[in-house]
């Protein structure tokens, strides 16, 4: 039993990271109706910046904080320069452009920092908690705590601040928002900036477990896609729950299903995505989009 609880707990730890990246995807989807295929790669790129600062001697938390600011500005710049020009184009065009971004960030990181794996510092103490045979590292506890803080922060932003309200309005109905004086373009940039910062945080938290290299986020991105699909692409709460469910499912499948084992865990998100899209395409909490013909 303790073994099972242990596996669930470990799953929650990965799930919290998938949830953060899924939240980033949802933020962008809600503000610009785009699924950003480059989200994970932008996060990886930011993580490299944090690593670079750290190797230059900046304390790890300061390096992460500085990286979040850089990622925020970078996300806004990407929206303004790359996404805005194709706004309103066909889905195919936008998918191709975000894939272009994916390649640029992925290979760009390989160019600047090469493809050799790097050790990323653990921002949490190396302490291990032991409760009745179930062991939790401070890293796990820290990651879950950070996720909770993010969720609270985003909730407060969107429900209790004027700027959050403006962002929601701009996503819901850009035309009317413009008429009441909301700078819709700026709100979209803000959405991308927030998402990029969130992704960067997810990258910095996952890097100590995965080793830092340009392809680090490929699998995390797929898990985040599965989480967002499961929760519904326009539901932040769904993304968090979806992330946790995917994390636990993946870990249990890896432990208890011999065929999957550790190396084929990546099949789990694929199956989740296909199953959800076939059975309930809007996810658990997503809203059905009604199209006028």
């Amino acid at each position: 039993m303790a073994h099972f609880v242990q596996q669930v707990l470990d799953g929650l730890a990965s799930g919290a990271i998938y949830a953060s990246l899924a939240l980033a995807l949802v933020l962008i989807f809600r503000s610009t109706h785009i699924v950003n295929f480059a989200q994970g790669e932008m996060a990886m790129f930011a993580t490299f910046i944090a690593w670079q600062l750290f190797t230059w001697g900046v304390p790890v938390w300061a390096a992460i904080a500085a990286t979040l600011v850089v990622a925020f500005l970078g996300g806004m710049a990407v929206e303004r320069m790359v996404i805005r020009p194709v706004e309103g184009s066909s889905e195919l065009t936008i998918v191709i452009v975000t894939l272009g971004l994916l390649l640029v960030f992925n290979q760009g990181a390989g160019w600047i920092w090469d493809f050799i794996i790097k050790q990323f510092p653990n921002p949490f103490p190396a302490h291990v908690f032991d409760v009745g045979g179930v062991r939790t590292t401070a890293h796990t506890a820290g990651v879950v705590a950070v996720l909770l803080l993010i969720v609270l922060g985003l909730w407060a932003l969107f429900q209790h601040t004027k700027i959050g309200l403006a962002m929601r309005a701009a996503a819901e109905n850009p035309e009317s928002s413009r008429l009441v004086g909301i700078r819709v373009g700026r709100m979209m940039m803000l959405g991308w900036g927030l998402a990029a910062a969130l992704g960067a945080l997810a990258g910095c938290l996952v890097a100590p477990r995965l080793f830092l290299e340009p392809n680090m986020m490929f699998s995390v991105t797929i898990y985040a896609f599965a989480a967002a699909t499961l929760g519904g692409f326009d539901s932040p709460g769904g993304a968090v729950l979806g992330g946790l469910i995917v994390g636990v499912t993946e870990n249990l499948a890896g432990t208890y299903i011999p065929f999957i084992h550790q190396d084929l865990k990546i099949l789990v998100p694929l199956l989740v995505i296909v199953a959800v899209l076939l059975v309930r395409p809007n996810g658990l909490f997503g809203h059905r989009e009604v199209v006028r013909v």
């Binding site: 699924v35 295929f37 790359v82 020009p85 194709v86 184009s89 066909s90 889905e91 195919l92 065009t93 998918v95 191709i96 452009v97 894939l99 272009g100 971004l101 994916l102 390649l103 640029v104 960030f105 992925n106 290979q107 760009g108 390989g110 160019w111 493809f115 340009p214 490929f218 699998s219 797929i222 896609f225 599965a226 699909t229 190396d263 084929l264 990546i266 099949l267 998100p269 694929l270 995505i273 296909v274 899209l277 076939l278 395409p281 013909v293």
Partner: protein
């Protein structure tokens, strides 16, 4: 615009046919001359161009003509490559004879993926196929007994038959050139005429196409299957031309590379596949001198820039250049013609698609 003197060609007339024949002959002459005037490593690169062109052509059937997106074509390419590898090494087949089977296996897999694709479109289809591409390398490693796992397998490269007097690289080139010609003919037959119109109608407005009597389900799944089959043939060629298959050859970057080649060459264009593949193969040749990762960056930037500036790709630019010199008109039309938009609304054409026979022919 100032009145420029342009040569007027009317489709279907003798003059038009002669012009088309001359262009075709020049292209054929260049294609045949390449292995005689180029050094062996260049000939190998042009063989690669033809091989990639087949996969890009398949992807274009799906994306350019039918509007479905796939980021998972590296998976079908891998399937073809391993089918050919296993048949050559373990069963002693002739390499060319393995290709129809590589096509069939990838076709079947594409059909299976195409079924859920019916309910998904745009972003969601991209998601599913993206996961397919990411799952491919670990799956290959898992089935070590067949695939050789992470170590990969070496495939004997076929030599040229003695009567030809050709070197190995020249022989490979001509074999692949012949296969490419066959695949281009198949693609041409698929996209011209009624079936092509139906494909484009589905792309531009599925609902309206259905009202016109196009069977959406059959068209979409079969397009996916054909498209995967093309990638399978390209993969099969990869196995015996490169002579080595391993999971690292079939990553997501390959799938996005196909997409880059297609977009750069030109969506909904058969000749675009060749231009796109030239770009795909020769960018790394020159970029690797600077940095190995540079070609990936260039592919990525190309995807974005082409979508911004020339959505019709190289072919679109060439058409515009041709438009400065030659004015191609439909018979009966008067006055200068306007170049057709890349993603036009072909619904009026689709009206000519009968309900039953169109799907039966596919």
């Amino acid at each position: 615009m100032s009145e420029r003197r342009r040569v007027v060609l009317v489709e279907g007339t003798a003059k038009y046919r002669i012009a088309v024949a001359v262009v075709a002959l020049v292209v054929l002459a260049i294609a045949i001359a390449i292995p005689y005037v180029m050094p062996p490593f260049r000939v190998f690169q042009f063989t690669e161009v033809l091989m990639i062109a087949i996969a890009v052509l398949g992807l274009n059937l799906l994306t350019g003509y039918n509007g479905q997106i796939s980021l998972g074509h590296s998976a079908f390419f891998a399937l073809g490559a391993y089918t050919t590898t296993v048949l050559i090494i373990d069963h002693g087949w002739n390499y060319v004879l393995t290709l129809p089977l590589a096509f069939a296996v990838a076709f079947a897999a594409g059909f299976l993926v195409g079924i859920p694709a019916l309910r998904l479109h745009g972003l969601y289809l991209a998601l599913v196929t993206l996961s397919l591409a990411i799952v491919t390398p670990p799956l290959i490693k898992r089935f070590e007994g067949v695939t050789g796992g992470a170590m990969g397998r070496s495939v004997p490269k076929p030599g040229a038959p003695g009567w030809t007097g050709l070197a190995q690289d020249q022989w490979h080139y001509f074999v692949v050139l012949a296969i490419t010609a066959v695949m281009v003919l198949i693609a041409r037959n698929l996209v011209s005429g009624r079936i092509g119109r139906a494909l484009r109608a589905v792309r531009d407005d599925g609902l309206a196409a259905e009202t016109m009597g196009v069977d959406l389900a059959i068209f979409k799944t079969l397009t996916f299957a054909y498209s995967a089959g093309f990638a399978g043939v390209a993969g099969g060629i990869f196995a015996f031309v490169v002579g080595f298959v391993s999971p690292e050859s079939f990553t997501l970057v390959l799938a996005i590379g196909f997409l880059s080649a297609m977009v750069v060459g030109g969506l909904s264009s058969i000749s675009g596949a060749v231009f796109g593949s030239l770009f795909y193969v020769f960018v790394p040749v020159y970029a690797a001198d600077v940095n190995d990762a540079l070609s990936g960056v260039i592919y990525g930037v190309a995807l974005i820039v082409v979508m911004f500036l020339m959505p019709a790709g190289v072919v679109g630019v060439l058409r515009r250049v041709r438009g400065l010199v030659v004015d191609v008109r439909k018979p009966g039309a008067h006055g200068p013609t306007v170049a057709p938009p890349v993603v036009g609304r072909d619904l009026s054409e689709a009206a000519g698609v009968p309900a039953t026979s169109s799907s039966a022919e596919l």
